[in-house]
């Protein structure tokens, strides 16, 4: 009986997609190298190394694709079997929201909610512990950096921090 987690020419073959992404990147690097000018072998230009590295990338990516098609590759689902896949997703979402807020809201107003969310949403820490940690850790870091090391952290539109 064939292994359902190992597929060949299927859309959910993760190895195939990995190779394809590598190939696209390789083609982009080759194109960028050409655009930057290769120069000559006596006097290589800015794009010389990039161009040949791009060719190597394409070569390795094609090797991965061939192996994925001939030997098969793990399905996307099997890569996350037994894993709590929603947890890293939550962390990723929190980090993206934080990145968007950091410049606008400043360090303190963006970091305190980030800490609170991370403490409560993954493996919930009880409120009586989560709130002090979420408040004190960023405040402590902010105080050390701003007062002791004189490093300016983003203050945001509200000029807090």
């Amino acid at each position: 009986m064939s292994d359902p987690t190992n597929v060949k020419l299927r859309v959910n073959n993760s190895e195939l997609w990995g190779g394809l992404i590598g190939l696209v990147l390789g083609v982009f690097v080759v194109w960028s190298g050409l655009k930057l000018k290769l120069g000559t072998i006596n006097d290589p230009g800015s794009g010389y190394v990039m161009f040949y590295t791009g060719i190597l990338m394409c070569l390795f990516a094609v090797t991965i694709i061939i192996a994925a098609v001939t030997e098969g590759g793990a399905t996307f689902g099997s890569r996350w079997t037994g894993a709590r896949w929603t947890k890293p997703l939550v962390v990723i979402a929190c980090l993206i929201a934080f990145a968007l807020a950091l410049d606008r809201l400043g360090f303190l107003l963006s970091t305190i909610p980030l800490m609170l969310l991370l403490l409560r949403l993954i493996d919930p820490v009880r409120w009586s512990l989560a709130i002090p940690i979420a408040l004190l850790a960023p405040l402590g870091v902010w105080w050390v950096l701003k007062r002791l090391l004189l490093i300016q952290l983003p203050a945001g539109i509200f000029e807090i921090g």
């Binding site: 990338m57 991370l118 090391l149």
Partner: protein, 502 residues
């Protein structure tokens, strides 16, 4: 005599109160990150790289080096008491170390691990002192062709030793080279892959890339699982091994030290592979191999000595050739460069205080580690009980701060988060980040030396094979590249493949 004078000068630098303080901070943090699973020396060093900017180069490098060899000590504590490797080089210590702890022999296991590490670390330093200056005098004769070929060899060895498909590892190395080329071309000053962003003119920072790929990605991977810790709760006594323990461990420590030191020097090698190699060697040499896996003290002593000796040996290619043999050394190279010091054959003569100061500080650091790891073991055991759901938000906070402070630029925080996501998906799809990071650091040097050699030889590609050192390096690289096509060598590669992810 000259060496002794140099060592004296080194101790003069290392014993300055500020350097002693940095050394202590380094080994303390090293032990801490070694003990805590989920954060390794790479993350810790990249986190603290910006802090070293405020001090002298000596202080900064002393601290960074302390984190590295300190983590080798600390990692064994977690392996023995919890059966989770604190960092990658201690994976093998779990096998017999935890069994010893379960049998009520946690004390001797921790003791032999710390003492074996101390002996190996001291030997590696003596060898570093003797080998580095002689190698540096030979390395002065190296031209761009030799440097280029050595870097190619380093990258190929690392990809050879990386877990999983070699094509994937090589693809990662190529991506690392391209990322390293982002920014102004050092020869023509032409911007490359900057997409019109001013922040990319100076290139992508090493700190956000490493913090993202190792720090954030590691947290994302860890949040997928519920981390259970089976901490040995019994009181730890009899830390000093008895006569029989010493008798059984002397050989493994000696062999592990020599093996680890030489594997550490090799480009692409390092602490992880040396600990595995030492374990395999001891099991093969043992008259009672069936004891291995059931609490054999040799299975703890040998690998622990080997990984510490390798940590010392790895400084040789960095200090004498300016080529980092592994990712940790690549970070140290970054630390040297931010301080305006270029490691290489001339560093020992031009900056003797720095070189010998670092070497001397490592002696002092080793002694500090012995105190930190034996009498204070109870403190580290308490720390092991810190739950991961409290630890990981703090790791995220410190990575953000570390990255921001390295450049005072929010853009680098975005870069770190982006590389965190990339690193997470890379690992899920079986792509290791270590070759990418080493290639990222070596990329600009590799390009520079390739272009220089082509200009000097007027485009003659034979320059790489006509020069003996360059030819040997390239020949080994070709063998390693072609080797995995042969089934017997592929099997061997799978056996030694390492994970430098932690």
């Amino acid at each position: 005599m000259e060496t002794l004078l140099n060592v004296g000068q080194g101790f003069g630098v290392a014993l300055l109160p500020i350097n002693l303080l940095y050394c202590f901070i380094g080994v303390f943090i090293g032990t801490l990150v070694g003990v805590l699973p989920g954060i390794g020396p790479i993350s810790a060093m990249s986190l603290l790289l910006p802090i070293t900017l405020s001090g002298t180069p000596e202080s900064g490098i002393i601290m960074m080096a302390g984190i590295y060899y300190g983590s080798m000590y600390g990692g064994s504590t977690t392996s023995i008491l919890v059966n989770i490797p604190g960092e990658a080089a201690s994976v093998v210590t779990c096998i017999d170390g935890h069994q010893m702890a379960k049998q009520g022999r946690a004390g001797p296991a921790l003791g032999i691990s710390a003492l074996g590490s101390f002996i190996a670390g001291t030997f590696a330093l003596v060898a570093l002192m003797l080998v580095a200056p002689s190698l540096a005098s030979v390395a002065i004769a190296f031209g761009p062709a030799e440097y280029f070929s050595l870097m190619v060899l380093g990258l190929v060895v690392l990809t050879f030793l990386t877990q999983g498909s070699m094509a994937k590892a090589l693809l990662m190395a190529c991506i690392g080279i391209v990322l390293g080329l982002v920014g102004l071309d050092s020869i023509t000053a032409q911007p490359r892959l900057t997409f019109g962003r001013l922040e990319l003119i100076d290139g992508i920072g090493l700190v956000p890339v490493v913090m993202g790929l190792f720090g954030v990605a590691e947290v994302l991977i860890n949040t997928e699982q519920i981390i259970k810790r089976d901490v040995i709760n019994a009181k730890i006594t009899h830390l000093l091994p008895n006569k029989a323990d010493w008798k059984a461990s002397a050989g493994p420590i000696g062999r592990g030290t020599i093996l680890g030191f030489f594997l550490g020097i090799l480009p692409g090698g390092g602490s992880v592979i040396s600990s595995f190699a030492s374990y395999a060697l001891e099991k093969r040499l043992s008259k009672t191999p069936e004891r291995f896996g059931n609490g054999a003290i040799e299975g703890v002593a040998g690998p622990e000595a080997a990984n510490n000796a390798a940590a010392g040996g790895a400084f040789i290619p960095l200090m004498t050739l300016g080529i980092p043999p592994n990712v940790v050394m690549a970070l140290l190279l970054g630390a040297f460069i931010v301080h305006g010091v270029q490691p290489g054959p001339l560093m020992i003569t031009q900056n003797p205080g720095l070189f010998w100061g670092i070497v001397a500080s490592m002696y002092i650091g080793n002694a500090m580690l012995l105190v930190l790891n034996l009498p204070l073991i109870g403190m580290w055991v308490q720390l092991l009980k810190l739950p991961y759901n409290i630890l990981f938000p703090l790791i995220i906070l410190f990575t953000i701060i570390g990255v921001y402070c390295s450049s005072n630029n929010v853009f680098d925080v975005y870069v770190m988060i982006a590389f965190g996501l990339i690193g997470y998906f890379m690992r899920k799809l079986g792509y290791e980040p270590a070759p990418l990071v080493l290639a990222f650091v070596l990329g600009p040097m590799l390009e520079n030396n390739l272009r220089k050699s082509l200009i000097l030889s007027q485009g003659d590609l034979f320059t790489f094979v006509e020069r003996p050192i360059s030819a040997v390096c390239l020949a080994i690289a070709v063998v390693l590249l072609v080797g995995p096509l042969l089934p017997s060598l592929r099997k061997k590669r799978e056996l030694v493949a390492l994970d430098e992810g932690v």
